[in-house]
């Protein structure tokens, strides 16, 4: 199943609507990296609000995506992790280092906008 990716100025926004298989996730990773390069994106927002489970593979993939995009000059923010899912992730013992999360789209955009402004003012 192909996960749609939207371009919004310097951002890419993608919403995971259903539980994804491992190969769907790998494909999403490739597509995000390709599109972020093509559009010179500075930020990527991944919405996981529809997911009822975030197991270790899913979390590892999100971390990998974040790290690869970082090396391509884009910051990744995961949004919409459900409270029950967050609880289970912590109990599972996931190492969440390097994974940035925000409550919702509005907050993620505000965080990234702030960073872009800061980066511009540092250049001057």
């Amino acid at each position: 199943m192909e996960v749609p990716i939207l371009k919004q100025g310097p951002l890419l926004i993608t919403t995971i609507q259903n539980a994804l298989t491992d190969s769907d996730l790998l494909k999403l990773k490739d597509n995000l990296v390709e599109l972020a390069g093509r559009h010179r994106s500075r930020g990527v927002i991944i919405d996981v609000a529809a997911l009822e489970v975030m197991d270790s593979f899913m979390s590892m993939m999100l971390r990998n995506i974040t790290q690869v995009l970082k090396l391509r000059g884009a910051d990744t923010i995961v949004i919409g992790i459900q409270p029950d899912v967050a609880f289970a992730m912590v109990q599972l013992g996931l190492n969440l280092e390097g994974l940035e999360a925000a409550l919702d789209l509005e907050e993620a955009i505000a965080i990234l906008d702030g960073r872009f402004k800061e980066a511009r003012s540092n250049v001057r």
């Binding site: 197991d55 270790s56 029950d84 109990q91 599972l92």
Partner: protein
């Protein structure tokens, strides 16, 4: 409605199917909220281990009772290569594949009861139970 369900695990799609079936039976058993997510997450980890190491196996979900409480029992059986060193496989961060090495120790933390039996060359059986609160 039946009190037990079986899912054959042979591909990554079955990992998703297994956690959906297990979650649905957990609802019947009376679980709510975060417990449902916890059960589905543990099932996902164990089902993924089957696909990763044994390629195929089965998972049986069953509603159990200890007199006062209901629970869900998950039994995962495969006839894969088995685990040479269970103590090491139960350590956080130990993995012989591409994973994070959290599947077994993480599932043990998520569930109330957790047992694993494994014999090299003949396969692995994981039994785990979660009780309603």
């Amino acid at each position: 409605m039946s009190d037990s369900r079986q899912v054959n695990i042979a591909s990554e799609v079955d990992v998703i199917l297994a956690r959906q079936e297990g979650r649905a039976l957990a609802v019947v058993a009376g679980f709510t909220g975060s417990d449902l997510t916890i059960i589905a997450t543990a099932i996902s980890e164990i089902a993924r281990n089957i696909v990763e190491y044994a390629q195929k196996g089965t998972m049986v979900f069953e509603i159990v009772s200890n007199g006062t409480k209901k629970g869900i029992r998950v039994v995962a059986v495969d006839h894969g290569p088995g685990i040479p060193n269970i103590a090491r496989a139960m350590q956080d961060g130990y993995s012989t594949s591409r994973g994070l090495g959290l599947g077994l120790p993480g599932s043990k933390r998520l569930m109330d009861e957790f047992e694993i039996e494994s014999e090299v060359g003949s396969g692995t059986t994981v039994r785990m139970v979660k009780w309603t609160r």
